[in-house]
Symmetry: C2
Subunit: 184 residues, 2 copies
DNA sequence: ATTCCTTTGCTGGATAAACAACACATTCCT
DNA sequence: AGGAATGTGTTGTTTATCCAGCAAAGGAAT
């Protein structure tokens, strides 16, 4: 991975930040490229230099976070169970604006919730294969189990974010870990 | 005044902000250009593109604020007495980091306090000439009066900043205005 | 429908900033 | 003392961004 020019990092950061802020203020289709470039303090043409349009910007933003999550969980699956959840929730906390915006906005990112859910489902599927020797869930449909826990997970995350993250990542991760271990 | 390129504004802002932050963390002579460029997230050579060295940076930063103050007070001297003081104190409040740092740092900006004092002295001198018909201060040396009020003014500002601006600009301006009117 | 206004992609030329490299000075260390 | 590290000021080249301006598409108002 060759390192990228400082300038592109700075402008992309500015654009993404501006876009997220705007997503929190108005609906996706009401946001113009002009809005974004103004907020980001960047020339309008510069936005086109990096993204095809606002849909592309949204896609790349989502893709980026999904990838970061994949990296993080690959790196984290070597440590303890509960600790891994905690690390992920710390990531959610650090990017709370992104996740709460994306999970909240029904009209804007209908794709995100399902993409995110798919990612979580894959994660649990792998996890289930690794720990399927414990006799629990004998005779139960694997798909049902995975979807059960994945939806539970996402739902808890969603309400935690919506409520403004009332408890620290450690405690929510611990509680969630206890519940998940009863299933898996 | 032709408008300047967005890029130079952004980098100059970043550099000045970084420099001010560093001034609050360590002594002036311990600050390197490398520190500044790192903090500003800017290439080192870019700093040299705008400033000769850190002394020049400091000078320009001071000069800039003095000029802004001159503009502000020229614009403000058409309104009420006390209101003008309030506007200036709002400026101090908005740039509290700069003023508290500069007034505090003995070793770094020994020049600033005197420059600033000179500016205040000039302001009061003009003010005195405009309102010298009121019979107060008959037979008193003008220079003494001006230096008296200027030092009082700067001293009050200094401690207000040092104490973390406990009262809002309005009230400090009003109190200061009452005291100054007893003299001028 | 026609007008008016905003937004959209896109261009081309100018320029700020990045980056890497230099020779030299300074501090640090041990 | 002497070598390593760090900081300085400057250069040349490359690249990202700016900015002004375009024609076209769409919406809203009259």
């Amino acid at each position: 991975m060759q390192k990228v020019d400082r300038r592109v990092l700075k402008t992309q950061e500015a654009i993404k930040k501006a876009f997220l802020e705007l997503m929190n203020e108005k609906k996706f289709d009401e946001i113009t490229i002009q809005d974004i470039s103004d907020r980001a303090n960047v020339n309008r043409s510069t936005v086109y230099l990096h993204y095809l349009d606002k849909f592309d910007l949204l896609d790349k933003l989502i893709e980026e976070h999904i990838n970061k999550l994949k990296e993080t969980s690959e790196w984290a699956c070597q440590v303890e169970w509960v600790e891994a959840i905690q690390i992920l929730f710390e990531y959610f906390e650090n990017h709370a604006l992104f996740f709460s915006t994306m999970l909240a906005s029904k009209e804007a990112a209908p794709s995100f919730r399902s993409k995110f859910l798919d990612y979580v489902i894959e994660g649990f599927k792998d996890e289930l294969h690794k720990t399927n020797g414990n006799g629990k869930n004998e005779g139960l449909n694997e798909d049902v189990i995975v979807k059960f826990v994945a939806n539970a997970y996402v739902g808890v995350l969603e309400s935690w974010l919506k409520d403004g993250m009332p408890s620290p990542p450690q405690s929510i991760a611990k509680e969630l870990g206890i519940l998940l271990e009863r299933i898996l």
